[in-house]
């Protein structure tokens, strides 16, 4: 079988998410597509077929979705370790290391958000993702609820064990609860010395922090295991089910992927997420950056992919549609760089439209007739 990915091995990849890499890759693709890749033989031109679409889809799963999910699970576990280490001897260095670990898991989560199907969304009524990200439900900010919960639990006497955290509503756990616990003290001071003093004065704050981190790590591991090992006790990894079309609602895998990405972009705009996420820690821009990069990887591929949705759109002579998509990704990055949330929402809205129209149309994929119009 042809291995067109080797074409891009000469392109240095700093972190796998740099948008300039995509530009470089796209330029090489444009130059090389007609002679180099995608068909049965080495020099066959790339064409849009069910097989090439499946190839692109498989690579999105294997090179983006699962690695992102794995990274989040590892970051969540690293947060558990950092929190435990910090709580053994609370000090400023330990706090900052734990905060860094939280930031890593948060940005990791925003690389998963465009893929909310399968393991993180395995139950219509209480999907697991809510217990990581309460904001994702409908943009409600539960900071006040969490502050009250932390203060009451720290001053109470109930054992802060696994059963306690298992019983908490999704509004009181996850990344936001950890952010509140790590980036401010009981009086909402964000000074490191005040926060550390709070942990020293109230050891139950450490119990609370460690319990939250542990719960998050368990969910993150569940997501990863669901993708790679066993989904809903079926004995089969969701990866296999997804790629053979055995999705929960019978959606075609590519339809599910594009719809999930589109809903994510709509969520970013409609819920003004850049104004709500990562506010206490001040990492909102990093979260938006991670999220857009992960979304862009759906189109442009990752880790040197050649058979991507973008290259298939080009093969289908949908250059203008792809140009629109790329322009809107660029607009999103510029808005993040400029720290203009308004422009970011505009870009997210335009990309939402791209995932509804230009991308599925360019790939000859139908999302469903009832999906967009009701009566």
């Amino acid at each position: 079988m042809n291995k067109p990915e080797t074409l891009l091995n000469c392109v240095r990849i700093d972190d796998g998410y740099r948008r300039h890499y995509f530009r470089t890759a796209a330029a090489i693709l444009l130059a090389g597509l007609l002679t180099a890749c995608g068909g049965e033989r080495k020099n066959d031109p790339l064409v849009l077929t069910d097989d090439t679409l499946n190839t692109a889809l498989t690579r999105i799963v294997d090179q983006t979705v699962i690695p992102n999910t794995q990274a989040f699970a590892e970051d969540a576990e690293a947060l558990v370790v950092a929190a435990s280490s910090f709580c053994n001897a609370p000090n400023t260095d330990g706090l900052q290391q734990t905060q860094s670990a939280w930031e890593a898991s948060s940005t990791g989560w925003y690389r998963i958000l465009p893929f909310l199907f399968g393991p993180p969304d395995d139950n219509l009524l209480t999907p697991g993702y809510l217990f990581i990200d309460s904001l994702r439900q409908r943009g409600n900010d539960y900071t006040s609820t969490i502050r009250t919960e932390i203060n009451e639990s720290v001053s109470g006497s109930e054992p802060l064990n696994g059963a306690y955290f298992d019983g908490l509503s999704f509004t009181k756990v996850g990344l936001l609860a950890l952010e509140v616990a790590l980036f401010e003290d009981a009086s909402e001071s964000s000074a490191d010395s005040d926060i550390v003093a709070g942990f020293i004065a109230h050891p139950r704050r450490c119990d609370y922090l460690e319990g939250l981190a542990q719960l998050q790590a368990e969910y993150a591991n569940d997501f990863y295991q669901g993708w790679t090992s066993d989904y809903q006790n079926s004995g089969e990894a969701y990866r296999e089910r997804f790629l053979r079309g055995a999705t929960d609602d019978g959606s075609a895998p590519l339809t599910l992927l594009l719809t999930s990405a589109q809903e994510h972009l709509n969520y970013l705009k409609q819920r003004t997420v850049a104004d709500q996420a990562g506010q206490i820690s001040g990492i909102s821009s990093a979260l938006m950056q991670a999220s857009i990069e992960a979304t862009e990887a759906i189109v442009e591929g990752d880790q040197g992919s050649v058979v991507t949705l973008a290259s298939l759109m080009l093969a289908a002579q949908e250059e203008s549609a792809l140009l629109s998509v790329r322009d809107n990704f660029e607009r999103a990055y510029e808005a993040i760089d400029d720290q203009s949330n308004l422009d970011f929402y505009t870009a997210a809205g335009l990309l939402d439209g791209n995932f509804k129209r230009e991308i599925p149309d360019g790939l000859a994929v139908e999302l469903g007739i009832n999906f967009s119009d009701g009566d």
């Binding site: 139950n123 219509l124 009524l125 209480t126 999907p127 697991g128 809510l130 217990f131 439900q137 409908r138 943009g139 298992d166 019983g167 908490l168 509503s169 999704f170 509004t171 999705t247 929960d248 609602d249 019978g250 959606s251 075609a252 339809t255 409609q270 819920r271 139908e366 999302l367 469903g368 007739i369 009832n370 999906f371 009701g374 009566d375």
Partner: protein, 389 residues
């Protein structure tokens, strides 16, 4: 048991909410009753195919009679006294001007009728219990006239389709109409939005949605019911054996200032009490403000409601107002019943029919039908069993 969106995940999973905790009139149904080889069960639906609009009757994965129409169809209904001729009426999607009678067995067009001047059909119709009359939802379309947008029922002679009379529905945008079991009254879902100048777009800033009970002969409105949510458009209906009316709702979010999920299902009891059916907030949230179709399985008194935007169907026990569970299916909208298999039938835009046990909400995959060249539109007709040989 409370089922709010504040319940924890583990509480929900431990509660067995979607299990056997609800005492039902009938215990589990056996699916897949073997049917006579001489019997075929047909359903009709508006369809889209290769960018063309039409009607299709489908049965046993083999016969998909497709008749093209110049318009996109919507509601489909049977003449209750005319099953031998297998005739079925499909109305044009709103705002429409035509209704067409097809032979369900062959797909052949039998006849058609048209809206009168300054009237727009609204997508649904029904027959009287004796099959002599057809009731069609319509609005007055006369921009600038004081009556513009007024909801009406056009009563047609079922033999020649001549309009016999028309009467008001009390609120704008009447959508689905059904005959009540008493044989005297109709129930009409007034969507409540006022029509724009093009007839298709609607203004939801000032809505007046209602569920009304109307004397089919005199046009007298004997009951008018509303819901607490003013932006909930009451649009689709089903009736159980006791005469309770289950309503599927469509919330006009663009005219609202908050994002809190709203209930999308309601029931008017035979005692005249109209209220929402319960469900956790996440279920409403997942439905994206839209329930597209509803049917009732008579013997179990279970209602099934579909949401193509949420890709699932939800099930309630009507009399006890209890949520039973859900079934996920991409772009599902059409819902009917299978008499031969004693279960619900769901359809979607991928041309699939799936057969769902009302009690367990599990699919009998051995009955699955697929029509790869068809895309079923919003609604699926009641079934007709045709016996051959």
């Amino acid at each position: 048991m409370a089922t709010s969106d504040m319940m924890t995940r583990r509480q929900i999973l431990k509660s067995g909410l979607f299990g056997s905790t609800v005492l039902l009139p009938l215990h589990g149904l056996a699916l897949g009753h073997s049917s006579s080889v001489m019997e075929s069960e047909y359903w009709g639906s508006a369809v889209l195919s290769e960018d063309q609009t039409g009607f299709a009757s489908v049965s046993r994965n083999q016969s998909a009679a497709l008749e093209q129409t110049a318009f996109r169809g919507h509601g489909v209904c049977l003449n209750p006294t005319d099953k031998n001729s297998h005739s079925i009426l499909m109305m044009a999607r709103r705002p429409g001007s035509e209704g067409i009678i097809f032979d369900l067995a062959t797909g052949e067009e039998l006849s058609r009728f048209y809206a009168l001047p300054e009237r727009q059909f609204q997508g649904h119709a029904c027959y009287s219990e004796d099959g002599s009359e057809i009731y069609v939802t319509q609005t007055i379309f006369s921009p600038g006239h004081p009556d513009h947008g007024k909801g009406m029922i056009s009563v047609r002679d079922a033999r020649n389709f001549v309009q016999l009379r028309e009467f008001e529905t009390g609120d704008p945008e009447p959508h689905e109409v059904l005959p009540m079991p008493d044989g005297i009254h109709l129930v009409v879902a007034n969507g409540g939005r006022f029509p724009g100048q093009d007839g298709r777009s609607n203004d939801a800033t000032e809505m007046s949605s209602s569920l009304v009970i109307i004397d089919r002969t005199t046009g007298e409105i004997s009951q008018r019911h509303t819901l607490t949510e003013p932006k909930a458009s009451i649009r689709h209906l089903a009736i159980n054996k006791e005469g309770s009316v289950v309503a599927a709702l469509q919330v006009q979010r663009q005219a609202m200032k908050d994002t809190r999920p709203r209930p999308l299902a309601a029931v008017l009891t035979s005692a005249g009490h109209f209220d929402y059916l319960p469900a956790p907030g996440n279920l409403w949230l997942g439905a994206h403000d839209y329930m597209g179709s509803v049917a009732v399985h008579a013997s179990t008194d279970i209602a099934c409601m579909t949401t193509p935007k949420g890709n699932f169907a939800a099930f309630w026990h009507v009399s006890s107002h209890t949520l039973l569970g859900y079934f996920q299916m991409h772009d599902v909208c059409g819902v009917s019943v299978s008499e031969l298999n004693d279960c619900f039938v769901l359809s979607n835009s991928a041309g699939e029919l799936r057969f769902i046990d009302p009690v367990t909400q599990q699919e009998n995959t051995s009955l699955r039908q697929s029509y790869s060249d068809l895309r079923f539109d919003n609604h699926l007709s009641q079934p007709v069993i045709i016996r051959k040989g």
